[in-house]
Amino acid sequence: MKPFMKSVLYNTILILAIISLCAYSYLSYNKYYPSITALKENPLFYDGRTVEFRSGDITKLNEEEKTLIYTSGKEELKISYDKRFSPRATNKGQTSILVNVNNGNFELADIHNHDNNYWKYIISVFCIVIFIYYFFKEWSLDEFRLIPKQSKSGGKNA
């Protein structure tokens, strides 16, 4: 087999393997870590289980009824809570919640506010700058591949 065809076959297998993993994760996650939509569609299936949500925040709070609305993306879930908790919306961050599914009702089991967590993402942008600095200090583009800069001057790594 020609080296080019070998390379095409090798990469096709790798890409297909990655796509398969992504598809498996996407199609199976509701069984293990259900989304709000899956939970609302079939609450009895998850009855007795404890589930976690962490990418959303509390958008409505009714202190008289002791209920809250947790919103993650475009999904909303109404959760009841007891006097052990005093839930609040997070300041510049997400809220992690643990919910008990009990006879089709959703009860708050634990809550944590990740205040100021969005700063982390802003700080992380600096890492791209550090990375680009180190990367182009050590590599240069040669046709379609990256070669170590020292190899252009006769280094051993090429």
């Binding site: 790798l14 993402y121 180190y134 170590p148 790594n157």
Partner: protein, 174 residues
């Protein structure tokens, strides 16, 4: 999960301790799990479902990173075995560091797709990233200072030698 700067610092500390060059391959490995998976953060700007998170989750698991590393090493005109090892050091350090974060249920899916069991040490919540960042800055600067005061030690053939000894031997052999 620490921030990306912390992951880069961990990679740099590893490079300093083991005199790894080129450093950028280890750094690339260290940020790879996040730059591939964190596209799901688009939900901060556009409301989406949980779908994108789970679709990209395999990129934050060892099996996903192994497959991705096999693809990435082909982009480099460099010793492929070394490139794979350096990338692996990077992403392993990333996943290991993320295991120190605390979550209610979902930590690191180390055995995915064989198992959905979550692993983590759960020492601190992920908004406490600044503690890890501060500690890592101190460790990195200390490592740099120590290396400038003490010559690096090379591990050759089971014998520990310093830079001067290695250079003297090279001169003799020439």
């Amino acid at each position: 999960m620490p921030d990306l700067v912390s992951h880069v610092l961990i990679a740099l500390i590893i490079c300093e301790l083991f005199s790894i060059k080129p450093k950028s391959l280890v750094i690339l490995g260290a940020i790879l799990p996040d730059i591939t998976q964190k596209f799901y953060l688009v939900h901060l700007f556009i409301p989406t479902s949980d779908g994108p998170y789970w679709l990209l989750l395999p990129f934050h698991t060892p099996i996903g990173q192994i497959l991705l590393s096999f693809i990435i090493i082909q982009l480099f005109r460099f010793d492929r075995k070394k490139a794979f090892i350096y990338l692996t050091i990077g992403w392993s350090s990333h996943i290991f560091a993320d295991m120190f974060s605390r979550h209610f249920l979902l930590g690191q899916l180390l055995l995915f797709p064989l198992s959905w069991k979550s692993f983590e040490f759960g020492l601190m919540w992920f908004e406490q990233y600044y503690i890890i960042l501060a500690v890592l800055i101190v460790i990195y600067l200390s490592t740099k200072m120590l290396k400038s005061h003490f010559p690096p030690v090379y591990f050759t053939g089971g014998l520990c030698k310093n830079k001067q000894q290695v250079e003297n031997e090279n001169k003799k052999s020439d």
